[in-house]
């Protein structure tokens, strides 16, 4: 059952898109990530123009994150105040990122930056998470006690001004690190067409050292804000949001996210992190591979219209 997408101007298989949305939504709800880093490459692979894929993705990310953030909210697993501070940074980052992406498209280097960003960020984060989570799993198998949790956060985290209390996360830190983190994720989300959860979740765990229980819900909150903003900006500036594509994806996405959020309660946190790390590593290496392999076709066509 093929359907013609009015903005992407291609014909695609509708049930396939719904199924794709369902699968990515499940992963999204389970790990508290937007799932954009999985979905965007797959849409491009299906023949949807990258600019449309990136822009329409943000609607799908917003919908599935909305669906699961409510589920987390009911379990009181969302730190609204921390989410707000991160989102404020994200708003600034998204504006910067959209402008940066326009400049890169003009220079013809958007592909390169996208590939390099995927390779660098996904490999580093995937690698770190894998090492850490495998270590935790091995220790548990051997019955060794966990190493004493290094609860001391980096000292600079306390040296900064503008301190704020985050009761839900049991933190009293400066707002500068979360603001910077939010802005950085905002830039990434505009450039890579992702929500940025795969950066946010590890940063909240390892740098801010927030309690594991609130990390996923809070990151989803920040992702919604960034995705909504990116969606509106992309539609307004570039006219690249395909509402039919987004609707098909989110039909599956919202349902998948619900099951994902439920399933996540049944697994151990370190096992979830190990699986996520493997997915992240795989996508990063796959996207980066193109940089090293001699292309069969030395030329690439780009859209003649620049939004």
């Amino acid at each position: 059952m093929d359907i013609y997408l009015p903005i992407a101007e291609v014909s695609v298989n509708a049930p396939l898109l719904v199924a794709l949305g369902l699968a990515v939504g499940f992963i999204s709800g389970m790990f508290g990530i937007g799932g954009g880093f999985l979905m965007t490459p797959m849409l491009v692979f299906l023949g949807i123009p990258p600019a449309v894929a990136v822009a329409s993705m943000s609607n799908h990310v917003a919908a599935s994150s909305m669906s699961s953030v409510i589920a987390y909210g009911r379990r009181r697993a969302v730190d609204l105040r921390m989410g707000g501070v991160l989102a404020a940074g994200g708003v600034v980052g998204a504006f910067l990122g959209v402008e940066l992406f326009r400049l890169l498209r003009l220079l013809g280097q958007a592909d390169l930056v996208v590939s390099v960003s995927y390779l660098v960020f996904l490999s580093i984060i995937g690698g770190l998470m894998l090492t850490e989570s495998l270590g935790a799993i091995l220790r548990r198998r051997r019955g060794e006690p966990n190493p004493p949790r290094r609860d001391r956060r980096p000292p600079w985290l306390y040296g900064l001004p503008l301190k704020m209390r985050f009761p839900r996360s049991r933190l009293y830190i400066s707002v500068i690190p979360p603001l910077v983190l939010g802005a950085f994720v905002g830039v990434l989300s505009a450039i890579m067409g992702v929500g940025g959860g795969f950066v946010l979740v590890p940063a909240m765990v390892y740098i801010l050292r927030m309690p594991a229980g609130v990390v996923v819900g809070t990151s989803l909150l920040q992702i919604i804000v960034t995705a909504v903003l990116t969606g509106v900006l992309q539609a307004g500036r570039n006219q690249t949001v395909d509402i039919v594509l987004a609707t098909l994806l989110l039909l599956g996405g919202i349902v998948g996210a619900q099951y994902g959020a439920r399933a996540s309660a049944r697994f151990r946190a370190e096992e979830l992190r190990a699986v996520l790390a493997l997915i992240v590593l795989f996508v990063g290496l796959r996207m980066g591979l193109g940089l090293f392999i001699a292309p069969e076709e030395p030329f690439v066509l780009m859209s003649g219209r620049l939004g």
Binding site: D2, P6, N59, M66, S68, R74, D111, I254, V300, L301
Partner: protein, 250 residues
């Protein structure tokens, strides 16, 4: 005996003059019928050229820099139609010579595509007004790449058997429009060749347009992009909230 009868002429019609792009659009096939009026029964060739609306093309070349494959600076080619097919009853090279084909823009090698931003006019070897491209000797590689990539997408084609004579003087051609064909006004040139020279021609137009919901959405997205963006985001958030509410009960 009719000695000086009417000159040879060609006539043609499209079975459809409008292609509607709706949600089930998966490409279309346009049939063109025509007749050759040739009192002297001299050998005739028919060439049908269909051109879509013109769109500039940006193309980049992958280059190896420090072990990595990177894109070069993109080059903009002007004059490239968004869709192009040249169908004829035998290969174009057998019908007319290079100069004639070039002048008519018949065949993918003769499309008037050029990269004006890369050109400059200078004096070389004492000859004034020589057009030089900054792409240098690679210029033809670039040009061919544009055509090759468009052919791969099904947007350009050259079919040396695309026009068939179904009866004496009566011919038929079938034009396949892929789902990715641009919307707009297409121009079909139907040319009659004798002894390698075009002797008669007809022009027909074909409109490819979005209809129904597709058209409404497309116009909304382009004319009121901000309200469209807001609406699609609100729809997304509402759907997410609805799913969460629906799942709460069970």
């Amino acid at each position: 005996m009719a000695v000086d009868a009417a000159p040879p002429a060609i006539s043609a019609a499209l079975t459809e003059t409008t292609v509607h792009v709706s949600s089930d659009f998966r490409g279309a096939s346009i049939v063109l019928y025509g007749a050759v009026f040739e009192p002297d029964s001299r050998p005739s060739d028919v060439v049908v050229i269909v051109r879509g609306p013109e769109e500039p093309v940006r193309i980049a070349r992958k280059m190896r820099v420090a072990g990595l494959w990177l894109n070069s600076r993109p080059v903009v080619f002007q004059g490239a139609p968004g869709f192009y097919i040249a169908a004829s009853n035998r290969p174009l090279g057998e019908i007319a010579n290079f100069g004639t084909l070039r002048r008519l823009g018949a065949g993918v090698d003769h499309l008037p595509i050029r990269a004006p931003a890369e050109q400059r006019v200078e004096t070389r070897y004492g000859v004034r007004d020589v057009v030089v491209s900054s792409l240098g000797a690679d210029y033809y590689d670039w040009r061919q790449a544009v055509v090759r990539l468009k052919q791969k997408a099904g947007l350009y084609d050259e079919d040396g058997r695309g026009v068939r004579f179904v009866d004496r003087g009566l011919f038929r051609a079938e034009i396949a429009l892929p789902a990715g064909a641009p919307t707009g006004v297409y121009r079909a040139d139907i040319l009659l060749f004798q002894d390698g020279k075009p002797v008669s021609g007809r022009v027909r137009t074909l409109t490819v347009e979005k209809v129904g919901l597709e058209r409404t959405l497309y116009l909304w997205a382009h004319n009121r992009p901000w309200s469209y963006g807001l609406a699609s985001v609100v729809l997304a958030l509402a759907a997410g909230w609805a799913a969460s509410a629906a799942f709460r009960r069970d």
